[in-house]
Structure formats: structure tokens, C-alpha cells
């Protein structure tokens, strides 16, 4: 057949299909683009809040009874009040809904007296019965609250949660009358008032939960007991809070409208701050690590010690790490100063003990430092002189931050150079990493722990033999005994001494873990314009106390119009 000389659509019969076929004119597309662009103008951001804070990761939940994240907790603390709240200057617990309490001589029974005329933001009164409801809800097995352990200090708390007791009336919390609450503890717990300030123990509205079940936070208005109420929650966009006029201390809540933005990328957070779209950024993950040496010199970057430790776990069930000399050798060979100065660069302090310094009333013991010669001696003693015959081992880290990988590379080089042993770095994806760690399927792995409250107990009881957070395979009856005795001890000084002995066993004698450094927090805000934030160990900064200098607590509204949709550039100290 001859090749055709006519184009296919010029043949008869094809005409009718193509009469309406467009030329695919790109100009039409560009016009559409323009129209669509103008259309997006409908989705405006609305007037700017008085205070815009980049808070951290998007909260998984704002229900104080079930949340576990730090960023979640910071917002829940604003929405829901508790028996105690945090003092802005040093994060010590001070009375919130409770105006006072009586303590029994054996220090196991607290009788809290609630303030008069307490009310939810929607008007209903807050009673002691609400406290009982909230705490029992956390302990109820049905709720499956992951932090129910914070209430195990109550009498029968653990039994009720694990199902050994089914009658909630037997749990050590009871409403004597509408304004009096009686709390019975299992042991004298010196940090119980700190616990009362935690999100887990805050008061939730039973009227809303009974009516809406799991959807109670999605209804508007949500009854709130705290200084702020929830106005809007757009996931991954922002959470808008407005001053709750029915809060007992509403007169001292400084800002009227506050926006809490999520932050996922450090560079984006920095950019938002630099252009004035955010006033405060308070999450240590949101600081670009490469710029820390420049940023720390700026007055608007505030570094402070933080209650958290970065450490290495040894799997003591695997050879050769079952020998404490090997573990000590590896720990002594780590040059922590190099890691802190070159990799993390945030002004962190090197760690020799597991508990960070700064907890009032507790002085952590001295652990193992940096002594490569001693490390080589110990390794030779254990049967591996010069690192010969030492098997190649795995060091696990996760993919959540590049810092872990960088620290791993440094450690690998240090162990190779000082001891002649080879570590293989395995970067695992987060959940796979957790499984490996939990299943003791590793040789060494990186870990970190953030303290919940200002007491060494939060760092030490996790290494008891049966604690689910141990994850090293290390069991020591002596250690368990020391910690248990300390828990039952009423005298604070004696208790601190006992805990110190336990920690010495942990970081000096047995060394199932090797602490590397203590975390440093880094918040950035212009201290000349924003007042009411005070750096503290727990990194708790109640929003009610924060205010902008010279701004009345009335929300600003930006003028309408495309060009003015950007907030005006502020006068921040220039870099």
C-alpha cells in the first residue's frame, strides 16, 4: 500500500470528530492559571493573632489524658487547668484550681481545697467530682491512656488500670464535697505536686465527653478550664486560642488571641521568624544546626539547659557486651567534647551521669569520663588487647534527625582509632528502630530520655529489672532494691542519697548505658519585645504570662487587600 499523503484527520469521516477539538492553546491554560490564582485569594488567613508561636510538631491529640508529645502538652496546659500549674519563672508547681492542701503526717494523704466559683468556659461549675472523673478516666483500662503510669502513685491506681480491681471507688481519689478532694497515695511521693501540674492529671469536661465521646475535641465550643479556650484547629496549619474569661485567674492572662503553629522544618521556622510571621519559636528541633555557631551569638537566641539526656544503650545480653569491662572501655573511649562542640553545637554540656544537673535537692554522681588509655587497658583485660579478635558490631540509629547519623559517624571513628574495633552503622527507619530496640535486636543503639518532672526518679526507675523502658537486658537486684527503698523513703535528703547510690551503680560500676550529653534547649524570640518567658529546665513557658511590650491585649487586624496580606516587617535586632 502506498503511504498516505493526507494526514489522518483530513480523511473523510474524521472531520466531525475534530471540528470541536481544541488546538490545545496554551494561552487558555495560562488564563485559567490566572483565574485560579485569583480564586485562591478567597482562602485568606484572617487577622493576625496577638502572639504567634511555632510550637513544634503537629499535636497528635489535645486530650490531656491521652496525649504523650511535648508539643501536645504545651497546648493542653493552656486549655485545661489542673490542681497545680507551673510558675512562669522557674516551672515550680504552684496552686491552680486548688487554693491549698493539707498533708497527713505520713505524707500519704493529700486533702485539696478547690477555689470557689470555678467554672468551665461554657459556664458549668468545676467541682472536685470533675477531678475524680478526670483521673479515673486516665486510669480506666478502656481509655488506654499511655501515661496512666503517672497515676500509679495513687493507692490502687495500678491495680485498677491493669484490671485487678474493677471498682473505681477503691482508687485513692475521692470527692469529699464539691470543693474538697481527698487523695491517698501508695507511698510518700515528694514530687506528687509536680505530677499534679502535668497534662495527664488535668481536668477534662465530663459533660462534653459523655455527650460526644471521642469526638469531644472536634465540637465547638469545647469546654475549657484553663487560661485559654480552643477557637479553631486546622491540622498542619494552626491552632487558635482565645482568652478564657471564666478562668479564675483570667485577669492575669496577658494576650487575647494566640496562634500555635506547627513546625516541621527548621529552616522554614527560622524564615517565618525572620519575616515576623512568628513571634516565638520554642522547640529545640526547629533550630538549623549548621547555623548554631552564628545564631547563638545573636541576642534573640536563648540557650538553656534542658532536662534530657542523650545516651547509648548496650545490649548486655549479647557477647561481648555482657562483660562490664568492655562496656566501660567503649564508654571511656568517647570524646564527648568533640561531639558537643562539632556536631550538636548548641551549647550542650557533656554528660557523665544519666540525670542532668540542676534538679533541686539532687547532686548527680560522677560517671566515667574520657580516658582512652584506661579504655585500652580494660579492653585488654577483657581479652581483646589492641582490639584484636573483637567482633564487628552494630550501632543502631534512626532516621528522625541527621544528628544521630553524624554522631554515629564520629563514634565509629573514635572507637576505631582508640580501640581498634569496628562498628557498623545501621540507620533504621523509626518504627523499625523501635522494634529492634524493644526486641533487644541490636548491639548498641542511640537513645534519649526527657524528664517529665524535676526529680531524678524519672531518669532512674526506667532501668529497674522489669521496667518496659529498660531495653538493655540489664537486671540488677541491688539496683532495684536501692530505687525501691528510695521511693518509700520520706526524708528527702536520705532519699537523694539512696538515688545517688543507685545512679553510681548505673553509670560507674555496671554501665549498661553510656550518657553522652545533656540536651540544651534553644528558644528564639526578641527579648526586647516579648516578655514573660523565662528559660527553665523543663522548658515550660505558660502562655498566659507572655505578652508583647506596648501592645494592649486586643487582637490586631491587618488591613484587607492583597499587598497588605503580609504582616509589616518588625524591627528585630539585625544579624
Amino acid at each position: 500500500m502506498m503511504p498516505s499523503a493526507t494526514a489522518p484527520w483530513e480523511r473523510p469521516g474524521a472531520q466531525r470528530c475534530l471540528r470541536n477539538a481544541p488546538d490545545g492553546n496554551p494561552c487558555l491554560l495560562l488564563l485559567f492559571l490566572l483565574a485560579a490564582l485569583l480564586f485562591t485569594g478567597c482562602a485568606r488567613r484572617g487577622p493576625r493573632a496577638d502572639l504567634v508561636i511555632i510550637n513544634g510538631a503537629e499535636p497528635e491529640s489535645l486530650d490531656p489524658g491521652i496525649l504523650t508529645g511535648e508539643a501536645d502538652g504545651r497546648i493542653a496546659l493552656e486549655l485545661f487547668a489542673g490542681l497545680m500549674r507551673y510558675e512562669p519563672t522557674n516551672a515550680t508547681p504552684v496552686p491552680d484550681l486548688a487554693e491549698g492542701w493539707d498533708l497527713s503526717p505520713d505524707r500519704k494523704v493529700y486533702t485539696f481545697h478547690l477555689r470557689p466559683h470555678l467554672a468551665w468556659s461554657t459556664g458549668e461549675p468545676i467541682t472536685a467530682g470533675d477531678v475524680v472523673y478526670s483521673w479515673l478516666r486516665v486510669l480506666a483500662p478502656r481509655t488506654a491512656a499511655e501515661y496512666a503510669g503517672q497515676l500509679f502513685y495513687l493507692k490502687n491506681g495500678e491495680e485498677f488500670n491493669t484490671g485487678r480491681i474493677t471498682d473505681p471507688a477503691q482508687v485513692g481519689v475521692r470527692a469529699v464535697n464539691a470543693r474538697t478532694l481527698r487523695v491517698e497515695l501508695k507511698n510518700p511521693t515528694p514530687f506528687f505536686l509536680n505530677l499534679c501540674a502535668l497534662p495527664t492529671l488535668r481536668i477534662v469536661p465530663r459533660q462534653a465527653i459523655k455527650k460526644h465521646g471521642d469526638r469531644w475535641l472536634m465540637t465547638r465550643p469545647v469546654p475549657c478550664s484553663g487560661p485559654y479556650e480552643l477557637v479553631a484547629w486546622r491540622i498542619n496549619d494552626r491552632i487558635r486560642l482565645r482568652k478564657n474569661p471564666r478562668y479564675w485567674d483570667a485577669a492575669n492572662t496577658r494576650c487575647e488571641v494566640v496562634d500555635m503553629l506547627p513546625g516541621t522544618s527548621a529552616n522554614t521556622a527560622l524564615n517565618l521568624y525572620e519575616t515576623g510571621e512568628a513571634d516565638i519559636v520554642w522547640d529545640k528541633n526547629l533550630v538549623p544546626v549548621e547555623l548554631l555557631d552564628v545564631l547563638l551569638k545573636r541576642p534573640d537566641f536563648h540557650s538553656y539547659s534542658y532536662l534530657g539526656t542523650y545516651f547509648i544503650r548496650f545490649n548486655v545480653t549479647r557477647k561481648p557486651f555482657d562483660d562490664s569491662r568492655v562496656r566501660k572501655a567503649l564508654t571511656l573511649a568517647i570524646d564527648r567534647t568533640r561531639i558537643v562542640e562539632r556536631i550538636t553545637r548548641g551549647g550542650e554540656h557533656t554528660a557523665s551521669s544519666q540525670t542532668p544537673p540542676g534538679i533541686p535537692g539532687y547532686d548527680p554522681p560522677e560517671g566515667l569520663g574520657y580516658d582512652p588509655a584506661q579504655a585500652r587497658r580494660l579492653l585488654a583485660e577483657a581479652g581483646f588487647p589492641g582490639g584484636r579478635a573483637f567482633p564487628s558490631f552494630d550501632y543502631l540509629c534512626d532516621n528522625t534527625s541527621h544528628l544521630h547519623e553524624q554522631i554515629a559517624v564520629e563514634l565509629q571513628a573514635m572507637w576505631q582509632r582508640e580501640l581498634g574495633i569496628h562498628a557498623e552503622i545501621h540507620k533504621l527507619e523509626w518504627k523499625t528502630y523501635l522494634r529492634a530496640q524493644g526486641g533487644l535486636d541490636y548491639d548498641l543503639c542511640r537513645s534519649s530520655w526527657i524528664g517529665d518532672y524535676n526529680d531524678p526518679n524519672t531518669f532512674l526507675d526506667m532501668f529497674m529489672s522489669n521496667n518496659g523502658n529498660n531495653r538493655t537486658g540489664w537486671k540488677s537486684a541491688h539496683y532495684d532494691e536501692l530505687v525501691n527503698l528510695a521511693d518509700a523513703q520520706a526524708d528527702r535528703a536520705k532519699r537523694a542519697e539512696m538515688l545517688r547510690n543507685a545512679e553510681t551503680l548505673l553509670v560507674r560500676d555496671e554501665v549498661p548505658i553510656a550518657p553522652l550529653f545533656y540536651y540544651a534547649g534553644l528558644d528564639y524570640y526578641d527579648a526586647n519585645r516579648i516578655k514573660g518567658i523565662f528559660p527553665n529546665l523543663l522548658s515550660v513557658n505558660p502562655v498566659r504570662a507572655i505578652y508583647k511590650v506596648g501592645v494592649e491585649s486586643v487582637s490586631k487586624s491587618t488591613p484587607q487587600g492583597a499587598a497588605a496580606n503580609l504582616p509589616p516587617a518588625p524591627q528585630i535586632a539585625a544579624h
Binding site: 488567613r45 488500670n161 469526638r215 503553629l261 522554614t268 519575616t275 523499625t432 492583597a562 503580609l566
Partner: protein
């Protein structure tokens, strides 16, 4: 008939896809409630998993999930405990669709003319420059284009906001970041398609008839040349409408693009399968549209 047959296939295909996604995600180790901090007693974790039916066998969980979907309920999100998947999709999908549609128009609106130009002016400076530009944007990821654009246009010159969503000005930089790469690809595909057609006899005939070069190219070479672009546009639009992880991350845009990746990393089964269903639906429908457009543009194709 072809149309209806294809449409009838969509439902069983979506079932297969959802089951595969569900199964694969369960195959990965770890669950949504594995955290660095273990709860005080193992019963708590068990109670939590029982609450979300994670203790049941996978096929049973899948059937339960399917039952929910048939009622329009995509299930609770296991990571964002206060939200259901319906909440998240309702909030995020319009944003991603807007951004995706804008980027699509941008990609076509710049890619097609560029491709046409480089094909029409083959051998001359326009081809070399245009071709080079197209290749350049293909080699540079959005990871780099985004921050560079932000640094220049948002931080240095303050023409646009630096991040977040809401309003016309917020949409410009993300659209350009997302659309540039695809504009480059489309221009290359169009150029290729047109160059493949140019040696054909009917083009020579058209030229011999005395038509101007531009008319020849526009009226005769363009239509068959655009076929590869059409094939490519279907999946491209589906990708764009369901959001881009990188762009939504850099600009902190509240779309659904981040949820598939984050959901996979967090083992949030419901949201991943929910979004996979939406994506699958879009792909199947758009591929159908593309196939029909094929038949429209080139009648020889009609099977």
C-alpha cells in the same frame, strides 16, 4: 461501551489496591503505638491496640475497614487521635487540589510553548537555550528550587510570603517550585513527539501546499506530537492533586501530601489506605480520560 467497561473495572481495582496497601503496611515492622517511651504496664499498650482492633488478624481488620469505607467512614487516624481520616481529608484535600491544579496549569502553560519552540526552531539558538533550560530544571530537585526561590523572592526582596497558606500571594512560590520540574519534562516530551512526526509525508505535503511553517507545525505536527504529553498528563495530574511532600513540607502548606509519607513512617494504617484509595481513584479516572483523549486526538487508535 469502552467507557462503561473501564468504569466498571474501577471498583474491583480499587479493592485490590486498598488490600495491597493495607497488607503491605501491616507487613512493615512496628505499629502506630510503638513509642520511645513505653507505657508503665504492657496492659496499657494491649488495651490501646485492642481499642483500634490491631490485635485482630489482618484480613479481619481489612474487612472491618472496608465496611466503614462503604458507609463513607474512612476510620479514625491512629496518629492524630482526635481527628478522623474524614476530618483530615476534608481539611487538606481542597488545599492540595488547588495547589495541584495551579501547578498543572503552570507546567502545561510553560512546558508546551517551550517544547513547541524548541521543536520549531531546531538547530538554532532558541532550541539550545530552551532545551538547556528544560534540562536544567529537570536535574534540580524541588528540595533546592524551593529554598532558593524562598531565599530570593521571599526573604531578600519580600515579594511573597515565606511559607504557610492562605491567599493568592502564598500560592505563587509553591506553584512555581512544584510546576517547574514538570514544565521541563513536558517540554522535552512535546519536542520529542513533534520531531518524531516532522519527517512524515503529510507534513511535506502541507509544506508543499504552501502553508507557512508555523501553521504547518501548529495545525499538523502539534496534534500527534502532543500524544506523549497527554499520556504523561494523566498520572501527573493525579500526583499533583494529591499533594507533594517536599513542597508542602518546605512551605508548610496544610495539604494532604505529607500524610502518605508520614503515615507510612508512623504506621497510621487508616490514613495511608484512605489516601491511597483517593489517589487510585484519580489515577484510574484520569487514565480513562487520557485514553479517551487519545482516541479523540488520533482516530487511528480506536480499538
Amino acid at each position: 461501551m469502552y467507557f462503561l467497561r473501564r468504569l466498571a473495572f474501577t471498583i474491583p481495582l480499587m479493592l485490590v489496591i486498598s488490600f495491597l496497601a493495607f497488607g503491605l503496611l501491616h507487613l512493615a515492622p512496628g505499629g502506630p503505638f510503638d513509642k520511645e517511651r513505653a507505657p508503665a504496664s504492657p496492659e496499657i499498650k494491649r488495651a490501646l491496640e485492642a481499642k483500634f482492633h490491631l490485635d485482630e488478624p489482618v484480613w479481619k481488620q481489612y474487612l472491618r475497614y472496608l465496611g466503614g469505607v462503604l458507609h463513607g467512614d474512612f476510620g479514625p487516624s491512629m496518629k492524630y487521635r482526635d481527628h478522623t481520616v474524614n476530618d483530615i481529608i476534608a481539611q487538606g484535600l481542597p488545599v492540595s487540589v488547588t495547589l495541584g491544579a495551579l501547578s498543572f496549569c503552570f507546567a502545561l502553560g510553560f512546558g508546551i510553548p517551550l517544547g513547541f519552540l524548541t521543536a520549531a526552531r531546531k538547530g538554532r539558538w532558541q532550541e539550545y537555550t530552551g532545551g538547556f533550560l528544560a534540562l536544567l530544571v529537570i536535574c534540580v530537585p524541588a528540595l533546592i528550587i524551593g529554598p532558593v526561590l524562598i531565599m530570593t523572592f521571599a526573604l531578600k526582596w519580600r515579594w511573597f510570603p515565606v511559607a504557610l497558606w492562605g491567599g493568592t500571594w502564598h500560592a505563587v512560590l509553591p506553584t512555581v517550585t512544584l510546576g517547574l520540574y514538570f514544565a521541563g519534562k513536558i517540554s522535552r516530551l512535546l519536542r520529542e513527539g513533534m520531531l518524531a512526526v516532522l519527517p512524515a509525508e503529510f507534513i511535506t505535503t502541507a509544506r508543499a501546499k504552501g502553508l507557512g511553517e508555523t501553521t504547518v507545525l501548529l495545525k499538523h505536527a502539534f496534534r500527534p506530537g502532543v500524544l506523549p504529553v497527554v499520556s504523561y498528563s494523566g498520572p501527573l495530574l493525579a500526583d499533583l492533586l494529591t499533594g507533594s511532600f517536599v513542597v508542602e513540607n518546605i512551605f508548610q502548606i496544610p495539604g494532604i501530601g505529607v500524610f502518605v509519607v508520614n503515615g507510612t513512617l508512623n504506621r497510621d494504617y487508616t490514613i495511608v489506605v484512605g489516601l491511597v484509595l483517593i489517589y487510585a481513584f484519580l489515577i484510574l479516572v484520569l487514565n480513562l480520560v487520557v485514553d479517551l483523549a487519545y482516541g479523540w486526538i488520533d482516530p487511528r487508535v480506536r480499538a
